[in-house]
């Protein structure tokens, strides 16, 4: 019973992180058809900005929005000055289907090495605003801390804000329209280019929040968030790459499978589980759980 509770709680906390990372990837993919591998690098750089803020002000609650802002700005820059011109230049030939993936790998490399030059590869300690020790109930200590609760609640709040934004505001509507039918949206007066940049910026902010949430309690280095990209991407693909609900569900599925296998089977399976889960789901549904409807063509 104890094991079951622990596994579910850890799964929930990990799942929340994966879900937000997956959402960041989904936001970019639905608006510009780009799988953004630089997301991990962008989140990492934003987290370093947050770290700079937190070491100077000693206040986590200033660092979180500061990092989100930095993430949004960085993403907007990458979209405007690299991805948009690239879409026009590499539109034909053998490279066309993979050009954006390859460019984002390049950006990831630049961010990695740039950050290592600025902040060195030495691990930085990022203080958590709340306790990172397991919660004690009766005589048993659960591997679930206040920090995990902070993660879960923040992710839920961020997701709700996104859901409200997309469903209830006119800018959110333009974003969905531009992702769904760029040409027709343009005719209807949506400034598709600008709306796409906003999609990237939102995604950058989401990635930055992931970094600032997950880093306290462990260390920050130029490579510390890379593995989250893999998990986030797997979660996004499970969910179908297009749907925010899919991202949330995919994150949860992955988080739970990881925590249950590591508690009940072996923690040595951490890197193998995502592959197995992904493959099983893709064999049944090659375009993910929420993907592949005929409503849209890629």
């Amino acid at each position: 019973m104890e094991k079951l509770i622990s596994a579910s709680l850890i799964g929930l906390s990990q799942g929340a992180i994966f879900a937000l990372m997956a959402l960041a990837l989904v936001l970019v993919f639905r608006s510009t058809r780009v799988v953004n591998f630089a997301q991990a690098g962008q989140a990492m750089v934003s987290t370093y900005i947050g770290w700079e803020v937190v070491t100077r002000t000693d206040n986590y609650w200033i660092a979180l929005p500061a990092a989100a802002l930095a993430g949004a700005l960085l993403a907007a820059i990458i979209e405007t000055f690299l991805m948009r011109p690239l879409a026009k230049r590499a539109s034909h030939g053998a490279i066309a289907p993979v050009a954006s993936i390859i460019a984002s790998l390049g950006v990831l490399g630049v961010l990695h090495s740039g950050a290592a030059m600025i902040w060195t590869t030495e691990q930085k300690l990022f203080q958590s605003p709340v306790s990172v020790n397991g919660i004690e109930i009766g005589s048993t200590v659960y591997p679930f801390s206040q920090a995990d609760m902070l993660i879960i609640s923040t992710v839920i709040i961020v997701m709700l804000i996104f859901a409200f934004f997309f469903q209830r505001t006119s800018l959110g509507l333009s974003l969905r329209a531009a992702a769904f039918q760029p040409e027709i949206s343009r005719l209807a007066g949506v400034r598709v280019d600008r709306v796409r940049t906003i999609g990237w910026a939102l995604s950058g902010a989401a990635g930055a929040i992931v970094g600032v949430l997950v880093t306290p309690g462990s260390y920050l280095s130029p490579f510390s968030l890379d593995i989250l990209l893999v998990y986030g991407f797997v979660a996004a693909v499970i969910g179908g790459l297009e749907s925010p609900q899919g991202a949330a569900l995919g994150g949860l599925i992955l988080g739970m499978s990881l925590s249950f296998t590591s508690i009940y089977v072996s923690s040595g399976l951490t890197f193998i589980v995502p592959f197995v889960v992904l493959l099983l789901i893709l064999i049944v549904k090659p375009k993910g759980i929420f993907g592949g409807g005929n409503s849209r063509n890629a």
Binding site: F29, V35, L82, P85, L86, R89, A90, H92, G93, A94, I95, A96, P97, V98, A99, I101, I102, A103, L105, G106, V107, L108, G109, V110, H112, S113, G114, A116, M117, T120, T121, D226, I227, V230, F233, V234, A236, V237, L241, S266, G268, L269, T270, F271, I272, P274, F275, V276, L278, L279, L282, I283, P286, K287, G288, A298
Partner: protein, 333 residues
């Protein structure tokens, strides 16, 4: 034998003879770099076949290299195979893994395939830590043997260079023949329009799986060659960054150019280390900067290449020539 095949074969024999001649006239460092270049040529060739021709993207060819490497080592360790045979077994083992994943992957397109192969690249090296027989983090040793007695006393690095460059030459020859054959055209047709290709009677899923299997097998050979030149195999030899480096190498000189593309990419990847080393000592760059300079340059190069010469410099030059011709025609009229 087809006449173009024969011409190609003769050309490769000449190149081999030239390499053989030079192997006795250069130092250990150049021989070592030559082996590494050969390894990259093979590995980049596997990406060019898969991405440049069949239009599928794999972020996991580093994983197939790992499979090839471990199969080679295990077949030597437990079956006592002579080391030439371990290379064949490595190709078969990796190709078999490619078949398994390829069947699953045939239904996956673009980003979904990228996701599956990325997860594979992360998952696979960690398997070595699960089974004691695979040697864990330390890995296993591999005996690359010695040159046959008829060559006399051959220095180790020269021997390694011979083997790896021979492997690269044979791979390029076979790949070139495949890519210029009916299969190459079929893959290209699927890449540009799979519906149209199927209407002409092409079995698109089967052709894609075939490309995946071939690519995996070739990557397996690259893994075996890498293991041979390191003399050991361990999970740390196959990080995710290796898979990314292969893509970089394939893109720099044009993703559908096997020759000279894969060679240019391999030389850039290997040469960059030396260039950065030279720059570092010449300009006394600090350690922090120097350690990361190579990745910065390679990544920047990748971005610039994909933005300015998306389909390789060759294509770019052709395009500019066509453009000019078009203009001068317009002027005359």
């Amino acid at each position: 034998m087809h006449s173009t095949h024969r011409r190609r074969l003769i050309l490769f024999i000449i190149v081999g003879a030239v390499l053989f001649y030079f192997s006795s006239r250069v130092g250990i460092l150049r021989l070592y770099q030559g082996s590494t270049v050969s390894m990259y040529v093979i590995a980049i060739g596997s990406i060019i076949l898969l991405t440049g021709y069949s239009g599928q993207i794999s972020l996991g060819n580093g994983a197939f290299m790992a499979i090839g490497a471990y199969v080679a080592v295990l077949s030597q360790l437990y079956l006592n195979l002579p080391f030439f045979l371990t290379f064949f077994v490595a190709v078969l083992g990796a190709a078999l893994a490619g078949l398994v994943l390829g069947i699953a992957a045939a239904r996956l397109t673009g980003p979904y395939l990228a996701g599956a192969t990325l997860a594979l690249a992360v998952a696979l090296p960690s398997i070595a830590n699960l089974f004691p027989a695979l040697g864990g983090e330390q890995g296993l040793g591999y005996d690359s043997g010695n040159a046959p007695a008829l060559f006399g006393e051959v220095a180790r690095f020269k021997w390694l260079f011979w083997i790896s460059s021979l492997a690269a030459l044979i791979t390029c020859l076979i790949l070139q023949n495949i890519l210029k054959s009916r299969y190459g055209r079929v893959w290209k047709s699927i890449r540009s329009n799979s519906v149209a290709a199927e209407l002409t009677g092409v079995n698109a899923p089967r052709s894609k799986v075939l490309a995946f299997i071939l690519s995996a097998g070739i990557a397996g050979l690259a893994g075996a060659v890498l293991t041979m030149s390191l003399g050991t195999v361990s999970p740390s030899a196959f990080p995710l960054s290796l898979s990314f480096a292969l893509i970089t190498g394939a893109v720099i000189a044009g993703i559908s150019s096997l020759l000279p593309g894969s060679l240019v990419g391999a030389v850039v990847l290997v040469g960059m280390s030396q260039l950065v080393g030279t720059l570092t000592t010449r300009f006394e760059i600090g350690d922090v900067l120097a350690q990361n300079l190579k990745e910065l340059i390679v990544s920047a190069l990748l971005i610039l290449a994909v933005v300015f010469t998306p389909n390789g410099p060759g294509e770019k030059i052709r395009e500019m020539r066509d453009h000019r011709r078009h203009h001068s025609h317009g002027g005359h009229r």
